[in-house]
Amino acid sequence: MSLWSTLPPDEQVLAEPAGDEARALAADQDERADLAAYRRARRRARTRRLGTGALGLAVLVVLWQLVAMLISDPVFLPSVSQTVASFAHYFVHPYPSQGKPLWYDALTSLRRVLIGFALGAVIGVALGAAMSASRIVRHAVDPVIEVLRPLPPLAFIPLFIIWLGIGEMPKEVLIMLGVIPVMAVTTVAALDEVPDDLRLCARTLGASPRYTMLRVQIRSALPGILTGMRISMAGAWTSIVAAELIAATSGLGYLIMQAGDYLNTALVFSGIISIAILGLGLDACLRGLLLLADPSRRR
């Protein structure tokens, strides 16, 4: 039997709540109406923001088309329509220099990015967790990360060819290497940011140390870790071209370099747009996870 259910009902009436709440709790009103109205207003605001964002992209496309029409030189700058036609054609038809269509290169690059990213995320988060948990690990690993972070991926290519050969592995490792420091740094920051009192609060509510670690500390850091994943996923795509300079015969990076050699500018743009679409798609997935993990971002 709970304490409060034993009390007479007239004692369960509360004092009139203050300010904003009074509005919501006003007599004879369904209180839920206020929360629902609040959420509706936030959804409307989000739709407006998305509309404005789409407008920005549309302006970019229109400007591109106008400039291309003025220049009227498809090798220097193909128009939007020429690029779309080229994209649609090569998406299913192989181009002469390689013998594979665009979708094949896109999938190849996607696989390399995903494998490299997954490896890097797992190692980076584990490293970050260890750094957050142990002062010694933090002080030992921190300078290593700080030294590695600013190095450009291109600089590693000769080393990777010597050490790892010219297969898939050096390409994935190159991407992984860019992901690890970002994930380690963001994971440390996210775990450090969990207030001590939040942990204490969970403990005073009867949570075991293990339950608190999993359901409160790590859970609380999850949005920060997912934000780190969004940053490093974008980084992974920026190094795909570098990765595919390693004796590649497929992939979007390879396609872009090849198309450039043949002065097929529309195909270069098609490759770039493919990277943009894949990058946006993966970022949208991560953003979706972030919204699931952090309700306060749902606006």
Partner: protein
């Protein structure tokens, strides 16, 4: 076990005995005495305020009672049992509500009961917890906000949700660390009424930390004035105001006398330190 001993006793609250508790922090070879020789007996169902300026050891003492900090000297017993670590029997409310931002109000309130069930401290099933949570939401005036997330609540509502979450563990002692310090004056006044109302119904023992003299007098059965060097509990003042109290009591003669006396005590402890 989680079921507090007081459940069979006269009142729901537990008596607290603080016996010459001391705490020294060491950082880089430097020792800071945060608390020395603090003694206080709190009766079951009593509301005692710990009042003092920052650095007077009031938060340290509260954390020792909560079991978050081990005392270097002395002992604390709650309901006759010595404190050795955090327990759902001793609920804590913080300056910020510390709601879990990824959980709805309802799931925030159910966090304690569910965590305790995972630790096999009780075997209440989900329907029972749901019923109890609905009653608690109603009790704190958030009946329509069970599905709201913390960021969708106003400051006062967040504190009431945190209150409901603490009550869901059926604590026999509530430790409150300047819980309304960050609220505006009007909301704060409402929260005082709310706190006294809830306390009146449940008669949980409450130890309330504050640096606000008027808040301490308005809420407390007694006010323990803290400070000095080394920091500790100085005089303990009885507040002779009747119950129920409200904000209007601030103008009464009894209130003004109490305030004058506490002011003088605070000045004395400052001069000594």
């Amino acid at each position: 076990m989680a079921a507090p001993a007081n459940r069979t006793g006269a009142g729901p609250g537990a008596a607290v005995v603080i016996d010459s508790v001391g705490k020294t922090f060491r950082r880089g070879g430097r020792r800071t005495v945060a608390l020395a020789g603090a003694s206080l007996r709190v009766r079951a169902g009593e509301l005692v305020c710990l009042l003092g300026p920052s650095g007077c050891g009031k938060s340290t003492l509260l954390r020792i009672i909560a079991g978050a900090l081990p005392a270097d000297e002395g002992t604390v017993t709650v309901g006759g049992r010595p404190v050795s670590g955090p327990s759902p029997d001793r609920g804590m409310l913080f300056q910020t509500p510390m709601l879990f931002p990824w959980l709805s109000t309802r799931n925030n309130i159910m966090f304690g009961p569910k965590a305790q069930r995972a630790a096999r401290l009780h075997e209440r099933d989900d329907p029972e917890l749901d019923t109890e949570t609905a009653a608690l939401l109603d009790r704190v005036g958030l009946a329509g906000f069970g599905d709201a997330f913390p960021h969708e609540l106003s400051g006062g509502m967040k504190h009431r949700a945190a209150f409901a979450r603490a009550l869901a563990s059926r604590p026999s002692l509530l430790l409150m660390d300047e819980p309304f310090g960050a609220l505006d004056a009007i909301t704060r006044e409402r929260m005082h009424e709310f706190l006294l109302d809830i306390w009146d119904q449940h008669r949980t023992t409450i130890i309330f930390v504050t640096h606000d003299i008027e808040e301490a007098i308005l809420l407390g059965d007694r006010v323990a004035v803290m400070g000095g060097s080394p920091p500790g509990i100085g005089e303990i003042i009885d507040i002779p105001l009747g119950r129920p109290r409200d904000a209007l009591d601030v103008d009464t003669e009894l209130f003004l006398n109490a305030r004058r006396r506490i002011r003088a005590l605070l000045q004395q402890t400052q001069l000594r330190s």
